[in-house]
């Protein structure tokens, strides 16, 4: 894996947050330990008493519910900022401009069509993440929280230190981050109460999963020296696209969280 993600399992066990009800604190600690939800645990039963819908919860919601929802949204915004910045650097629009290592790497790609396709994909993906951040920020303030504008501190140093000095490393690293946000929002969906927050997280998570699939495929093609197949539209070259791309794009029926260090817990990007 290119670059290093900071933190280990012990570091990311969330600290119980004053004001959160006991059941949801317990659920958060469970997430911090890697969930184990597929192992047949009874988390479902443990929190079954939670309201069935956010509309119901908004009617009888508590300040603790709103506090956790706000933390989730702030952290989501902070993760989106990380991604906007990563793609911005690669597109030469970050603080280092066209001298950013990832921007230089893309500019040097010998296959011009593959380069232009990658630039297009990164541009569109960055635009998506800008929209995601805005959605999460808007919801945060609508719930009475403070807008989060900074990158997530748990992952920021790892992203800054990541080696993205060639296109493959960049694409692989972007895939790592897209997987992190996909996993994070999936877990968030089991925590939030507000229905608008649920809808936003689900609608955004679904798109992050698609970004992940595309990056996995592009990364595999670059790794196998098949950049000639990085094309939109791919046209007649479709016959040359390896069958393995299917398993690479969606390797599991349920691509669950594999490590507790690979999620951004609600507290990790929260601001007061």
């Amino acid at each position: 894996m290119p670059g290093e993600m900071t933190g280990d399992a012990d570091d990311v066990v969330p600290t119980p947050t004053p004001g959160l009800d006991g059941e949801r604190r317990t659920a958060l600690r469970t997430i911090g330990r890697g969930l184990g939800l597929l192992a047949g645990g009874c988390l479902g039963g443990m929190v079954a008493a939670l309201p069935a819908s956010a509309s119901a919860s908004s009617a009888r919601g508590t300040r603790a519910d709103a506090a956790l929802d706000i933390q989730v949204l702030q952290t989501a915004a902070s993760m989106e900022t990380l991604l906007v910045d990563l793609y911005g650097a690669a597109l030469g629009t970050g603080p280092e401009g066209r001298n950013a290592p990832s921007a230089l790497a893309i500019a040097a790609m010998p296959d011009v069509t593959a380069r232009d396709t990658l630039v297009r994909l990164l541009t569109e993906t960055q635009a998506h993440h800008r929209e995601h951040r805005l959605a999460f920020q808007t919801l945060t303030t609508a719930l009475g929280g403070v807008q989060q504008n900074d990158p997530n501190p748990k992952f920021a140093s790892g992203v800054a230190a990541a080696d993205v000095s060639n296109p493959l490393r960049l694409v692989d690293y972007a895939a790592v981050l897209e997987k992190i946000v996909t996993d994070t929002y999936t877990l968030d969906l089991t925590l939030v109460e507000n229905v608008r927050a649920k809808e936003a997280l689900a609608g955004v998570m679904a798109v992050e999963a698609q970004h992940l699939a595309v990056l996995r495929v592009v990364g595999a093609l670059l790794r196998d020296d098949k950049s000639v197949l990085v094309r939109i539209p791919i046209g007649n070259d479709l016959v040359n696209l390896p069958a393995a791309m299917a398993v690479i794009a969606f390797p599991r029926a349920m691509d669950d969280v594999t490590s507790s260090s690979s999620v951004a817990e609600p507290q990790s990007g929260a601001v007061l």
């Binding site: 479902g44 969906l189 679904a206 299917a246």
Partner: protein, 206 residues
């Protein structure tokens, strides 16, 4: 694949993902009062997580029927030359939908309801009509994309209504996988693989 052979397959699939439905068995979104052999028309309407499981299980069966038909057409040479990646997408996605179906049937059975092994009756005529019009690989990929979008949108719409966190998580993971099916199908079709910034459930079944 016949219903019988699929049921056999589902038995194995259910064992693989047995843990996934355990939370539902523990927490229970359903309000079932015991197993029933009757059809849904003869019992009170399903509610809550069990109702969602019933809906999406029917859709998963529908997707499997469509994929079975597409694979049969390809094997019979009725779609012309099929690029390897297109065949792999359909075969891999099909296997993953079998796992998804097994999860929802576990949810249903944990709620005291019968497993669903038939395609959604509401959408089946429409999609069978589309299937009858498929004459080439492009048409097959477009139909596959359509059924994946319907299923993904249905999961997206259902997630905020689910009560049990295990059901929420399962639906979210399946939504992600189905959207990945969509992305690669679009790439194969020469389209922008991720066309929208935020998914909207405009094709959701109900």
């Amino acid at each position: 694949m016949t219903n019988l052979s699929r049921r056999r397959f589902l038995g194995a699939g259910a064992a693989v993902v047995a843990g996934t439905g355990a939370g539902v068995a523990c927490g229970g979104g359903g309000s079932g009062d015991g197993a029933s052999d009757t059809t849904t028309a003869a019992v009170p309407a399903l509610t809550g997580d069990v109702a969602v499981a019933n809906l999406v299980a029917g859709l998963e069966n529908l997707v499997l029927d469509i994929y079975d038909a597409l694979l049969a057409a390809a094997s019979a040479g009725r779609l012309g030359d099929v690029p390897a990646v297109v065949g792999a997408i359909v075969a891999t996605a099909r296997a993953q939908h079998i796992e998804h179906l097994a999860v929802w049937n576990q949810v249903l059975q944990a709620g005291g309801k019968p497993a669903v092994n038939e395609a959604d009756a509401g959408l089946k005529p429409t999609l069978d009509s589309r299937l009858a019009q498929v004459v080439d690989v492009g048409g097959a990929a477009r139909l596959a994309l359509l059924v994946e979008e319907i299923l993904a949108d249905t999961y997206l719409k259902a997630i905020p209504t689910l009560a049990d966190p295990e059901s929420v998580r399962a639906a979210a993971l399946m939504l992600a996988t189905d959207q990945q099916h969509c992305a690669l199908l679009r790439y194969a079709l020469g389209e922008v693989p991720v066309p929208e910034a935020v998914q909207i459930p405009d094709k959701a079944a109900s």
